[in-house]
Amino acid sequence: MAMPVSGVPTDGSRAPAAQVPAGHALARIGRAIRSNRKAATGTILLLIFILVALFPGVIAHASPTQDAYPPRLGPSSAHLFGTNAYGQDLFAQVVWGTRNVLIIAFVVGLATTGIAVLIGVAAAYLGGAWDGTLGVLTDVLLVIPLFPLLIIIAAYAHGGTTIVLITAITLTSWSYTARQLRSQALTLRNRDFLEAARVRGERKLYVIVMEVIPTMTSLIVASFLTNALYAVLLSSSLQFIGLGDPNTVSWGTTLYWAENNAALQTGEPLWAIAPGFCIALLGAAFALLNYAFDEIGNPALRPVRRSKRVRRA
């Protein structure tokens, strides 16, 4: 998996965009994406993958599961990535596998971010013993190495279907972003606009949902991207080592079959390289977007454009 890419995560160094209502924040984000090259690249890649996941049959005409073709063919116009040792069309496998990967990415991303928002913001606002307990829970789960834990969970479950993978990953991966969200929520606690809301007599829940969370939009979106990225990497890693369901069509399971058939050593490298490359590309898309959000949030990190005309005499 990748490691956290953003700047030092623990002490809320990510400044909130501005104190504006949610709608404006999203519009600002949209504009920022268009102007930032990294964000633009990431968005385009992501959109391509989403399109592929939505309309796989349009792009790949072959069936991904039927052993319908001569085995071990190289790339050709009929089979863009060739066929594997079972006579399955690899291009079709990769294309149809996109759906499973993106479903996992988005479901886990949303669920994990949801849990993180809940716990992080609640801890910041409820304070006291609640904050203490939730904080400890978050920290403990943060330090316990996730991948080995997922391995033994999946091992006891004798390999997980997609649902099992989604559940296991969601239940264990929320702590990192929960911590980030809590830090930021803490820094917001004493801002004027919130004080104003309190004075107005708004209830705590209203303040949290309608005032605080919209302000943290950019961080929440970034958390979603981080969690989606980890979901992709963790789930495909588990599938690769054989702890997923080998009968589903997914990039990780294609890699599993490639490894089982020594694809690299028998002259069928594309079987392993192609799905891995897609994982890398999707991961890169999420990471680029995430990094771009860093820059949007922290202007100090934005690239310095040196004007070539500057010449001091």
Binding site: D67, N247, Q265, T266, G267
Partner: protein
């Protein structure tokens, strides 16, 4: 900054230098040495066992016998399963059956010494068998279920009396029982569980060094066959994964393999003209119906399943063409072709006949439902789950082909890929509808596998563990045939019974053989000759097959 870069470059350069030089030197220090005398010859074995070595060599205990029988310990007689049970005397020079085949007398070879110098006599043989009787966990082949006594009647004569006539048990008694030294084993406190780190045997090799990663054997200078073995040193590394084991073969570091290698042409044989492989078929891999299932108890349904499977395709796609298609008689060809009832098989017709499958289902009262699945008048659908071993990727792939084939005739199967433990639990206890199974034991003739499948003594009711008759087949007439076979030594009678058993397979379809399971075997002729091949099948070739492995070791010689 500049300081850091410099160190970085030096570090990388250093590693690269170490890498390149080590890479070139180690390729010459591996395995075989051509043109040297036999004292320098080293044969390296590649057999992935899934675990590191525990350095125990007790030949009677199944945890340890893989590494000791054949290398250090020997049987009375070698029986070649690939040449219809052709015999080679080893520790016994001759044997005779008594009246009615109720007793068996062996003449023991004189002049054989244990590796510590003590002479081997009939007393050791009798002791071995009586030790097995005393500790039933050591009776891996069940010889004491048919023996009543084993005595050394003279210094070089052993007489065995049978409680039940069981001629086929000659294989288990003479070939599958390693003889152990009485003077060593009688001093061990618990010979059944002892690991024995320094084995003393009569065999061609001595265990000279053992670590969890590798075992080294050296030739026994006092071996009873003069001039043998011709290879001085054996290296037997422990592999925990197929990939590493396969790599040592492909790089030439190991010369004798017992590996499943995917796409063996590209991976192995294309790398060196001296690399060869041979996969002798030994046992059927079959679709096994649970005969207690009401729909599967209908013989026409089972016949339809048999005709619906495109065995050639399963062999090509699922097994990369390594495992040839099986046939419904259950006779493994070409290994046991001489026993095949060709007339009966010809009457059965083409094994893959979709039209016939469909008409059989129709005559059984099934018609396609709206979803394409065959349904009968009572509304019962031909929908089954098949249990399979999830770890065997070739079996999973084969099942995908079978699933597609059966769907084409309207039978829907849902594969359930289980762990080995869960699979065995379900299979042995009869908690399944269909299963994909290969028997666990092999013998020198088709009788052994058929007996495992068809003998009612080997089955048990659902909920209890069946020994080998997992489909719960039971027929007094078939039992009678099988018992008749075990009382005779006459080949003609044996063949006639086999012909009738094949008729049973064809008319009653208790199991549906799909492909023939093979022994994985690779060999490198660069430095060694004398390998078993399809034209010279003098022994079962993989290193884990004992005591066949001893025969291979005795036939090999350095070039």
């Amino acid at each position: 900054m500049r300081r850091l870069t410099r160190y970085g470059i030096i570090l990388t350069a250093g590693l690269l230098a170490a890498g390149c030089s080590a890479g070139s030197s180690s390729s010459t220090s591996s395995g075989s040495s051509s043109g040297n005398t036999s004292t320098n010859s080293v044969l390296t074995i590649s057999n992935e066992n899934g675990a590191l070595w525990t350095c125990g060599f007790n030949p009677l205990n199944s945890s340890y016998n893989l590494l000791s029988v054949g290398f250090t310990y020997e049987p009375l007689v070698y029986v070649n399963p690939l040449q219809s049970g052709k015999t080679t005397p080893m520790l016994a020079t001759s044997w005779t059956w008594g009246a009615g085949n109720k007793s068996l007398t062996f003449t023991i070879r004189p002049g054989v010494k244990w590796s510590d110098g003590t002479p081997m006599t009939a007393a050791d043989v009798a002791y071995t068998f009586n030790l097995i009787k005393k500790y039933p966990t050591l009776d891996l082949t069940g010889v004491w279920s048919v023996l009543s006594s084993v005595t050394a009647t003279a210094p070089y004569t052993v007489t065995m009396d049978f409680s039940t006539v069981a001629v086929p048990y000659f294989y288990y008694i003479a070939d599958q029982t390693p003889i152990v030294p009485q003077h060593i084993f009688s001093t061990i406190a618990n010979p059944a569980t002892a690991s024995i780190s320094h084995p003393v045997g009569t065999g061609p090799y001595l265990m000279s060094k053992c670590s969890p990663q590798n075992i080294t054997y050296t030739a026994n200078p006092h071996y009873w066959q003069p001039g043998l073995p011709r290879i001085h040193t054996l290296q037997y590394p422990a592999f925990t994964s197929n990939n590493t084991a396969n790599d040592t073969l492909a790089s030439g570091q190991a010369q004798w393999g017992a590996q499943y290698i995917p796409d063996i042409q590209a991976f192995y044989t294309s790398k060196n003209p001296n690399f060869h492989y041979w996969f002798p078929p030994v046992l059927n891999v079959s679709m096994v119906p649970n005969l207690t299932n009401p729909l599967l108890s209908n013989v026409k349904v089972r016949e339809a399943i048999s005709y619906a499977i495109d065995r050639d395709k399963v062999s090509t796609i699922g097994e990369s063409g390594y495992e040839p298609p099986a046939n419904q008689t259950g006779i493994v060809t070409p290994t046991f072709s001489s026993s095949l009832n060709s007339q009966a098989l010809a009457a059965w017709g083409n094994g893959y006949d979709v039209a016939k499958a469909k008409s059989l289902l129709a005559s059984a009262g099934f018609h396609p439902g709206s979803d394409g699945i065959m349904t009968n008048a009572a509304g019962q659908k031909l929908q089954f789950t098949v249990i399979n071993i999830g770890d065997y990727s070739d079996w999973v792939a084969s099942m995908q082909v079978i699933q597609q084939d059966l769907r084409a005739v309207g039978i829907s199967i849902n594969p359930s890929n289980l762990s080995n433990t869960d699979y065995q639990a379900d299979l042995f206890n009869g908690h399944y509808q269909l299963a994909y199974v290969e028997q666990y034991t092999f013998g020198p003739g088709p009788y052994y596998e058929l007996n495992n499948w068809l003998n009612s003594a080997n089955t048990a009711p659902v909920g209890k563990q069946a020994a080998s008759n997992y489909e719960r087949y039971s027929s007094p007439a078939t039992d009678k045939l099988l018992n008749q076979y075990s009382t005779t030594t006459d080949p003609a009678t044996q063949q006639s019974i086999l012909n009738q058993l094949q008729q049973v397979m064809l008319s009653q379809v208790p199991i549906i053989p799909v492909v023939e399971g093979v022994d994985w075997y690779q060999y490198d002729t660069s430095s060694f000759t004398g390998w078993p091949t399809s034209s010279n099948p003098y022994a079962q070739p993989p290193v884990w097959a004992f005591p066949d492995n001893e025969q291979v070791l005795l036939h090999l010689s350095p070039k």
